[in-house]
């Protein structure tokens, strides 16, 4: 039998606010344990939550970026359960009325066609703390620094059919949230985590099979591996006559397998109800419009502009538009007057190679887009050849912010020799010195053109304008 997988993801995105969602404590990563847990985060008797409006604005930003309905009125609920790293004994979340309603996002899986994935909803909630089980033998340590960190939980439709699509979706959300500045996207620090709902069904069947949920996956690669393993496992169970149990599973990347965590029978009744400490969240049309007008041009729109208007190749356009830093750098080059195709070539070629080699990110590059644009301009006006341009690029990299294109061309003597008179003089001298070779050229031996051009380059230390040299020699014939 042929099987088809059905996959939906719930992605927890840590919002890049300075303070927590319901308290003034800092959200900065890496503080010593419990140093960033204030009275409110600790759930002391008598404390009350106050909503961080920045978190709401970021949620709205996301909603607008996926073309979703922004719910003008939403409610914070208490999700009740006991755990050592959940100080209040409940998590404040949104259950029935999320701030962001239905939207869509376009993904492009590797070796696949672009397709749309539906997003069911996105809601605000607070993160729990961290339980550390292996620090003290026989005991669990609790670090509440993460408690109250704002999360946006983005729930997809079960629209994905392969592990590759799921991974592409996760990547696309990662691109988008960084693009719109609501998350730092740092997977290693837990800024994005996802749960995958996975089921399989015979190809052609319209009903869904029973699903399992794989919890807490924190890398693109693990999403793909975990789902691949789980799909294969489910097919195995079904083909050997078994049944899939609705359950929560954990992915173990070391063994590359998923393991059962708890079955549905043992699952909590969370006793959701509206949190009476918080008023219903009301979002004004003005706020929505202000946020809309403040949104950057989104990846899809840029990709479209780069290919249809600017004529970039699909692969360059995708590579540039998918990364906000690259896209902004590219647009800054254009704004400084540079040619789009040359800008893309330099970015994807020399610049990218230097960034890799020196292990720095684009935001830390010593060559500002304006400098690259000037370099390209000097190629366009024939001051630089492609060879001397690379020499200049290297010099600019070393000079950093103090780099000045024209001063470096001058001091490194990189300008092409384009003076007709001077070049003609050199060529005349060469013809006089090499009459035999010139006769052969005249007789139709085109190879000899290369000889003369080479000699001119040698005489000018490579600075002669090659097209011009060609032209002058041809004129002599």
């Amino acid at each position: 039998m042929n099987w088809e997988a059905v996959i939906g993801l719930e992605i927890h995105v840590q919002l890049a606010t300075k303070s927590k969602i319901f308290s003034g404590a800092s959200t900065a990563y890496g503080a010593s344990p419990n140093a960033q847990a204030c009275n409110i985060d600790l759930g002391l008797p008598g404390v009350l939550p106050v909503l961080n409006e920045k978190a709401v604005e970021m949620a709205v930003r996301f909603g607008l970026a996926i073309g979703a309905q922004i719910n003008r009125y939403s409610i914070f609920d208490r999700k009740n359960y006991f755990y050592a790293d959940l100080p209040k004994g409940y998590q404040i979340s949104q259950f029935e009325t999320p701030v962001v309603g239905e939207g869509t996002i376009t993904i492009t899986p590797e070796n696949g066609k672009p397709r749309r994935v539906g997003i069911t909803r996105a809601h605000l909630e607070e993160d729990a703390g961290k339980s550390v089980h292996d620090l003290y033998p026989g005991m669990t340590a609790v670090d509440l620094n993460r408690t109250g960190t704002p999360l946006l939980e983005i729930v997809s439709e079960p629209d994905m059919r392969t592990a590759q699509e799921a991974s592409a979706y996760f990547r696309q959300i990662h691109t988008l949230v960084r693009y719109i500045g609501i998350c730092d996207g740092n997977l290693a620090e837990g800024s994005m985590r996802c749960d995958a709902n996975v089921s399989v069904r015979p190809t052609g069947q319209s009903e869904f099979g029973e699903r399992t949920e794989i919890k807490n996956i924190n890398s693109f690669r693990f999403v793909e591996q975990a789902i691949e393993y789980e799909v294969a496992r489910q097919i195995d169970v079904l083909e050997s006559g078994g049944r899939i149990e609705r359950e929560t599973r954990l992915y173990d990347p070391d063994k590359d397998e998923t393991r059962s965590m708890r079955s549905k029978e043992l699952s909590n009744d969370y006793r959701y109800f509206p949190d009476p400490d918080l008023l219903p969240l009301s979002i004004s049309e003005e706020l929505i419009e202000r946020i809309r007008s403040d949104l950057p041009e989104l990846p899809d729109a840029r990709q479209e502009r780069y290919t249809s208007t600017l004529g970039l190749t699909d692969s360059d356009a995708t590579a540039i538009s998918n990364d906000i830093d690259r896209a902004n750098y590219f647009d800054a080059c254009l704004a400084a007057g540079a040619d789009p195709k040359q800008s893309a070539n330099w970015m994807m070629g020399e610049l990218s190679a230097y960034l890799n080699k020196h292990d720095v990110t684009l935001s830390e590059t010593p060559i500002a887009p304006e400098l690259l644009a000037q370099l390209i301009a000097r190629i366009d006006d024939d001051t630089l050849s492609s060879k001397t341009a690379k020499t200049l690029f290297d010099a600019l990299w070393t000079a950093g912010a103090s780099g000045n294109v024209d001063a470096l061309i001058e001091s490194l003597n990189l300008a092409q020799l384009s003076d007709d008179g001077a070049l003609t003089q050199i060529i005349d001298d060469l013809i006089a010195a090499n009459p035999k070779q010139f006769d052969e050229l005249r007789g139709g031996k085109d190879k000899m053109l290369g000889f003369f051009v080479g000699q001119v380059m040698k005489a000018t230390q490579g600075k002669a304008n090659p097209q011009q040299v060609n032209q002058i020699i041809r004129d002599k014939l």
Binding site: L44, G46, R78, A84, V142, R271
Partner: protein, 486 residues
């Protein structure tokens, strides 16, 4: 000055230089020392910090400060977090909890120069109508030590009635200021929900809890209320307003009532009571003051007690989840696992009534019962609110008894939970509607004080205080003291 002097009288004495705040505070501490053993009003007495605050107030007065509240002693219900001071909410669970921060009410009172002499006894987590649910033992009613003072603010009510302090803070979720005020013969104001910050006030039922003053007369209630009230950005449910009359009241007292009012008598509150003669006297007195009495109906009154116990218990069940033995409060000995830590810490730390309400609330929020209990109760809560809105289109204020009975004997109702819950019959509807209400002494039943309740539309505290002050200007019920012949 004597032990029954009012806050205003003490303020005048301080102003004249008759005595210093340190002397006044020491006199209070002596009186508490002498009387508290029999009454058990206080869980904690803060002699040192009180005298230090009093000395500071004297210093400020010497440097020219004229604030009417500067240097006045009072007491806090032990539900307000007070930095560096034991804050127990009447529970074994918090019997070791020293709060690391001040509640907004605590900092407001301190900023006004008022001197807290200690923390008063209360029903555990404010759950109760008799103060018998305190881990720190029951409080005696100063009028009859065999009887309860009411609850949950029983310690505050008894302390004011017995002349240990002239004013104390209380909290009212379903009647916890008004019912003990009535049973102890004092004045108690439950403000509009949102008027006084809940930040730092240990939560029972968040959508109902509201702090207010307990004093011997309306003038002192107005003075304390004006200090307690105000918008607090730390409480999202706090009302963003500061009415001008509050500051005028601190400076000049309650403005005189300048018009006759129409006072509504909700028939549902007068249908089932044999000893209402004290209310009849109050009605006559109000009419003599020129007010018009009309009968009105609040048709959903009967549903209020069950609705209240569903909603308050639901909220309490999750508000009290944080008491898990992990970070603060009571922790069982030698826990074997996380589950064991939770179960034994909570089993040992909570009293019976608190457990009953946690269980009730957990049940009503559970899958399969949520719609039938919680949601339905919310719908009826709305209807109860609409009853009041309807009535206030016809009348300025409502008049009703505060409690169905005078103070009852200790242990009399402890096994009859429904009868105990019926104590709240006349107070919970206003709590559910979030409305302000004041209870003031208006007569006696079998030698025990009785209270009447005046209820106003939201944020109508000034009208309540004006009417109460006018009434108290013409009557002397609020001046009767335990030990007087009734």
């Amino acid at each position: 000055m004597n032990e029954f002097s009012s806050l205003r009288e003490m303020s005048a004495g301080l102003d004249r230089g008759d005595f210093s705040s340190v002397e006044l505070t020491q006199a209070h501490l002596d009186r508490i020392q002498q009387a508290n053993a029999a009454l058990n009003c206080f869980i904690t007495i803060n002699a040192d910090s009180a005298l230090a605050a009093a000395a500071q107030a004297d210093d400020q007065r010497a440097r020219g400060s004229k604030s009417p509240t500067l240097g006045l002693p009072f007491a806090h219900k032990d539900i307000f977090c007070t930095q560096g001071v034991l804050t127990t909410a009447g529970s074994k669970m918090l019997s070791n909890f020293v709060a690391p921060y001040d509640a907004t009410v605590v900092s407001n009172m301190a900023a006004a120069g008022m001197v807290s002499v200690g923390k008063t006894n209360m029903d555990e987590f404010a759950m109760g109508s008799s103060n018998e649910n305190s881990f720190f033992g029951p409080v005696s009613n100063p009028w009859d030590h065999e009887r309860v003072p009411g609850g949950s603010s029983g310690g505050s009510a008894a302390a004011v009635a017995a002349g240990l302090v002239a004013g104390a803070t209380g909290t009212d979720t379903g009647g916890s200021i008004r019912q003990p005020a009535a049973l102890c013969g004092i004045t108690g104001l439950k403000p509009t929900y949102g008027r006084v910050s809940r930040y730092g006030m240990i939560a029972f039922a968040s959508s109902l809890d509201q702090a207010g003053p307990m004093t011997r007369d309306a003038e002192d209630a107005a003075l304390m209320f004006s200090v307690m009230a105000g918008f607090d950005p730390k409480d999202s449910t706090s009302a963003e307003r500061r009415d001008a009359w509050l500051d005028a009241t601190i400076a000049n007292g309650i403005a005189a009532l300048d018009r006759p009012l129409t006072i509504g008598l909700p028939s549902e509150y007068f249908s089932d009571n044999s000893n209402l003669s004290y209310i009849d006297i109050a009605k006559t007195e109000l009419q003599r003051l020129g007010h018009k009495l009309v009968e009105v109906s609040l048709p959903h009154t009967q549903a209020a007690v069950p609705v209240y116990y569903v909603l308050a218990s639901a909220e309490a069940s999750t508000n009290l989840s944080r008491y898990d033995g992990v970070r603060f409060g009571h922790r069982c000995n030698d826990p074997q696992s996380l589950q064991d830590l939770y179960e034994r810490s909570r089993e040992e730390g909570f009293g019976e009534e608190v457990k009953r309400r946690i269980l009730t609330g957990t049940y009503t929020l559970s899958v399969g019962y949520f719609d039938a209990y919680y949601l339905k109760a919310q719908k009826i809560r709305r209807l109860i609110s609409e009853d009041f809105q309807q009535a206030f289109t016809k009348v300025d204020v409502l008049l009703a008894p505060t409690s169905p009975t005078p103070a009852f004997k200790k242990n009399q109702l402890t096994d009859d939970h429904v009868a105990m819950y019926q104590q709240d019959l006349y107070t919970v509807p206003t709590s559910l509607a979030g409305l302000p209400a004041i209870s003031l002494p208006c007569g006696f039943c079998d030698g025990l004080p009785m209270g009447m309740q005046l209820i106003a539309p939201a944020f109508g505290e000034e009208l309540l205080l004006q009417l109460a002050a006018q009434y108290q200007g013409q009557t002397d019920w609020h001046l009767r003291r335990p030990g007087d012949s009734a």
